[in-house]
């Protein structure tokens, strides 16, 4: 298993370089260093000298990928790409284009992102699996049809509608929790985003889990369990759920590390100072330093999630070996 993990980690290096290169290319196709300087300096009384000076200060006065003006390794290292990317491989994210420490921002914003994402994830998973099991239990009955119809309706509604509707009903009309914000007594601020996060995911997730359970319920071991006289509840919760773990884990474990990254829409609408919000702000402000750091972190966490998924297979199914 150790050899497998080392191999996977080594595979990650070219993937991360590729992701970095792609981010770099996409960003600089849309924005030039001059555009970035103007965005930072504003539009009033900005002279060409000020733009050149900003570029020099922030290291954007170099060639993008290849520096033909120098010799040797400098052709590669004396470029924007190298200067902005190399340090990230030792997790040194440097400073944003407005001079703030990116690592510090990530550190402070991780908490609020997790405060929303983790409960949404755990409560959501419990709800979705339970609801899916319930539909499976009453499969091919009016209850199942009603459940599936409800899922279709819920998954057809835009996420934004849940947010605005939830804010209107729960905060504005019923005055249960603050409409947005984050701070002291964080619980009251995270209730609404978590509820909305869970409700908005019921439709698609429950249907997906239902299909997994339905596939399992037709297998021989389930028939055997029933023949032994086990109750339907026991069959579902003890046997089907356990055997359906592999497909569930495939989708679930991979997202666990990504919970750090937060949610772009939810954080923006609820004023949660998380990493999702940070990324959106950076894209709007054309802050390449933050964008590349966040994409790098996202890729890294995704790779970590995939490795964790593989490991989790060995835990739930002893037949699986990582070699």
């Amino acid at each position: 298993m150790i050899a497998y993990l080392i191999r996977r980690i080594l595979y990650a290096i070219p993937i991360l370089i590729g992701v970095n290169l792609l981010t770099f290319a996409l960003f600089f196709v849309v924005n030039t260093p001059d555009d970035m300087a103007r965005m930072q300096l504003g539009i009033k009384r900005v002279t060409p000298e000020a733009i050149e000076h900003w570029k020099e200060q922030h290291g954007y006065n170099k060639p993008l990928l290849v520096n033909r003006g120098v010799k040797g390794i400098g052709k590669i290292t004396d470029t924007i790409f190298w200067q902005k990317s190399a340090s990230m491989f030792v997790l040194d994210f440097g400073f944003s284009d407005d001079g703030r420490s990116i690592s510090r921002e990530i550190y402070t914003r991780m908490g609020p992102s997790m405060a929303i994402a983790l409960p949404t994830f755990i409560i959501g998973l419990l709800c979705y699996v339970s609801f899916a099991l319930l539909m499976t239990l009453f499969r091919a009955t009016a209850l199942d049809i009603a459940g599936v119809s409800l899922c279709v309706v819920l998954m057809s509604i835009s996420g934004l509608f849940y947010i605005i509707g939830g804010q209107f009903l729960i905060s504005k009309l019923w005055h249960w929790v603050p409409i947005s914000g984050y701070g002291e007594g964080a619980f009251k601020f995270i209730v609404l985003p978590v509820v909305i996060g869970v409700v908005s995911g019921i439709g698609s997730s429950s249907r997906w889990y239902r299909s997994i359970f339905l596939e399992e319920i037709g297998k021989d071991y389930v028939r055997t369990a029933r023949a032994k006289g086990l109750s339907e509840l026991r069959v579902l919760f003890t046997h089907v759920l356990k055997n359906a773990s592999i497909p569930i884990l495939t989708g679930v474990v991979v997202v666990i590390p990504l919970l750090f990254m937060g949610s772009l829409l939810t954080e923006s609408f609820f004023g949660i100072p998380g990493l999702g919000n940070y990324t959106i702000d950076a894209i709007n402000a054309q802050d390449f330093s933050i964008v590349r750091a966040m994409v790098f972190l996202g890729s890294l966490l995704y790779i970590a999630g995939l490795i964790l998924t593989d490991i989790s297979y060995t835990v739930v199914d002893p037949r699986v070996r990582l070699t």
């Binding site: 030039t32 965005m39 009033k44 200060q57 001079g99 703030r100 409409i179 004023g271």
Partner: protein, 721 residues
């Protein structure tokens, strides 16, 4: 004590505890949606919001409105705008008196203000003695009087994330040297200095000073840059409370700059403190944690959530103004005359990026004042047949009041003077532009797209600025007639006649027989802007011109403007100071965007206009200046290099517990004048935000029923098996 006595005592104690518990529960149940800590109720705190995090809080670098919202209340430059007087008038802030100005010729002989060959203007500024800085660790000293935190190492900063994390703070008296220090910083090559370009033209020696600092930084890149070691020719320290600034020529508008934080005092201790290693990595910079002598200091800086200004305990140099108009007096704006400022203890700014939560929190009483987004306009404001705006009945019931003011801004549509079709001074192009100016009905635009919050502009100069005329004298005669005491837009027939005279009868070029097509460049994209752009197309359709809207992203748009690769474009300007020069320079050829990278985005050029501008720009407001401005505006009307667009109106709603709110579009340091009746706010918040319980009961019952139903269904199923 008997057993029963003991019991009674216990019983009484229990009752008391139960009462406390009940009270606590009731209090806790009273308001669930309060986003602020319960212990803040009853305190003199102003609650407001910001929609965009400020990029800079360093007074040498900050320039935008959302940055000034904070630093204007933290720093105290020499001057400020009188809070109540209109037209806007400069008064002392940190200065003990208004600066005295001496005019000199090139041999440094004193001249009168009206002299023609003024080579230098010397501003002598006396600051109030005894003003003190906010408490800050940069000023902390040990028992021997030596700075406590000047030789910190990275490990010393391990648990430090904000200036408040240091154990000790200190303060000191503000001196004239601090003001001199800040002016020198305006040439610091390490900083982005938005006004360096303008100031280097005026402050004697500033350009050379920037060169000197550049050389020093090249030689000693890692050393602390001690500005005291390098004198600046145009800035002279006289004594602890007096300094002089020498300008090239005459520049009366300089006084307005003295009301901006660019000219606030900067203590050397703060610069040295933040220059220490490890500070920037912890976001401990002057750009993040200002050090000022104004009425407030930044006590909490988390621009991702909230920023808090707290009363500077060392501030005692200002009082609420006692002069104002009769209407100010009637509105109660002089009730606090003579009171020591600030009138509130704290200002809590919460980040609200979305308008819906912002608006709803205002209605729930969690923000003390709010602007009005287009989505909420109909809910907030009613417009009667006379065009008078007032708050809706719903708002009135909540005690909300409305105040309006015309912004010192202008939103215009420019014609690119370099374009062969719409640009230039030829009669053909002029008539074409004039025709378009008549056809594009900005009154309609303001009514439809700005909910009436604006006034159609007649020239670049907005109301309230010297040079602006009201009534018949102020109309643009190319576009309007004055009929029955009213401004009336000229008919489309006249526009069509002009189009025909320009060589495009019915919108067809007589030379090429091709329909006339004009391109409009804009950053407006998406469904939200479609109706505006469709409206604009319709305006051009009225005179048979085809308008092609070229929507593009911000970067490409700016690039096109810089290269002059446009025909028409949307643009705007927000004044730095209330002087006509700050608007009319937008059409001065020396400011042409393509040729000089300046602010004249239309690249307009007219020698007579330029000549008049040079003459007018440094004049004091006087009838002579007015005559020159009138002629300049007349030239602009005829040439029509812009569709003059509109001057936006600011609408601000406020709750009845907020006092002394007077619209003042020039001043950003208004918070010190505002007063909050916290007890009224608390009681109204309670009234407005009782939690609604019935959905909880219904939800609970429904949940029980569903579970019971499921259980029954399951049981029946098992039984059947």
């Amino acid at each position: 004590m008997t057993h029963s006595g003991n019991f009674q005592l216990h019983s009484r104690a229990m009752n008391k505890n139960l009462t406390y518990l009940l009270c606590f529960l009731l209090c806790a149940c009273d308001v669930w949606n309060n986003p602020y800590p319960a212990q803040d109720s009853g305190k003199s705190i102003l609650y407001t919001a910001f929609t965009e995090r400020p990029k800079h809080l360093d007074p040498a670098q900050a320039y935008s409105e959302n940055e000034y919202e904070f630093i204007s209340n933290i720093y105290a430059p020499p001057l400020q705008y009188h809070y109540l007087k209109r037209p806007y008038q400069l008064v002392e802030q940190a200065a003990a008196s208004m600066p005295s100005v001496t005019y000199l010729d090139e041999h440094h002989h004193v001249l009168s203000a009206t002299a023609t060959k003024i080579a230098y203007s010397v501003y002598e500024i006396h600051i109030k003695p005894g003003m003190r800085y906010q408490p800050h660790p940069a000023f902390a000293r040990d028992v021997n009087g030596l700075p406590l935190y000047l030789h910190l190492t990275t490990s010393d900063l391990r648990d430090i994330h904000a200036p408040g994390d240091f154990l000790h703070t200190g303060t000191r008296v503000v001196t004239a040297l601090d003001y001199v220090n800040q002016i020198k910083r305006l040439a610091d090559p390490r900083l982005h200095l938005p006004i360096y370009g303008v100031m280097s033209e005026y402050i004697v020696g500033l350009k050379d000073y920037a060169g000197t600092l550049q050389q020093v930084l090249k030689k000693h890149p890692d050393e602390y840059l001690d500005l005291n070691r390098y004198p600046l020719l145009g800035v002279e320290l006289i004594n602890d409370t007096t300094y002089r600034i020498t300008l090239q020529g005459k520049y009366p508008q300089f006084a307005y700059w003295l009301a901006m934080p660019f000219f606030a005092p900067m203590p050397e201790e703060a610069l040295r403190f933040y220059a220490q290693p490890g500070m920037q990595a912890r976001n401990l910079t002057l750009d993040w944690w200002p050090v000022g002598s104004g009425p407030f200091y930044l006590s909490e800086n988390d621009p991702n959530t909230r920023m808090v200004l707290s009363r500077n305990p060392n501030f005692n140099s200002e009082y609420y103004p006692s002069e104002g108009s009769n209407s100010d007096k009637q509105a109660g704006l002089l009730a606090d005359a003579g009171h020591s400022l600030p009138l509130i203890d704290q200002v809590v700014f919460t980040l609200e990026k979305e308008t819906i939560p912002y608006w709803n929190k205002f209605l729930q009483g969690y923000y003390d004042a709010s602007g009005i987004s287009s989505d909420s306009f109909d809910q907030a404001v009613q417009v009667n047949v006379g065009g008078e705006t007032r708050v809706s009945d719903e708002m009135k019931q909540q005690g909300i009041t409305l105040s309006t003011s015309v912004a010192t801004s202008t939103m215009y549509t420019g014609f690119n003077w370099l374009d062969p079709v719409v640009g230039g001074s030829s009669l053909r192009a002029t008539k074409l532009r004039q025709a378009i100016a008549i056809a594009v009905d900005y009154e309609e635009f303001v009514s439809i797209f700005a909910n009436g919050r604006g006034i159609a502009a007649q020239s670049p100069i907005p109301p309230g600025i010297f040079g602006h005329h009201e009534g018949s004298a102020g109309i643009n005669p190319i576009v309007y007639d004055w009929i029955d005491g009213q401004r009336t837009r000229k008919s489309l027939a006249q526009a069509k006649r002009l189009i025909a005279e320009a060589g495009y009868p019915d919108g067809v070029d007589v030379k090429t027989h091709q329909p006339l097509v004009i391109n409009l460049d804009t950053t407006a994209t998406g469904v939200g802007n479609k109706s505006r752009l469709d409206w604009m197309r319709k305006q051009f359709d009225k005179i048979n011109i085809q308008l092609v809207v070229r929507s593009t992203d911000y970067n490409r748009f700016q690039d096109k403007i810089r290269r002059g690769d446009t025909q028409m474009f949307y643009y705007g300007w927000n004044a730095d100071y209330p002087d006509p020069e700050n608007f009319l320079f937008l059409l001065h050829s020396a400011q042409a965007k393509v040729a000089h990278g300046g602010e004249n985005a239309a690249n307009y050029s007219n020698p007579e206009y330029d000549q008049l501008f040079e003459k007018m720009k440094n004049m004091e407001n006087s009838p002579e200046r007015q005559i020159i401005i009138d002629r300049m505006v007349e030239i602009l009307h005829y040439d029509s290099p812009w569709l003059w667009g509109y001057h936006p109106k600011n609408y601000v709603l406020q709750h009845n517990w907020l006092h002394n709110v007077q619209p003042n579009v020039m001043a950003s340091n208004k918070l010190k004048y505002w007063r909050v009746d916290a007890s009224l706010r608390d009681s109204l918040r309670l009234d407005w935000n009782h939690p609604v319980f019935w959905p909880l009961w219904i939800g609970g019952v429904a949940l029980v029923l569903v579970f019971a139903g499921l259980r029954r269904a399951l049981k029946r199923r098992e039984d059947m098996k």
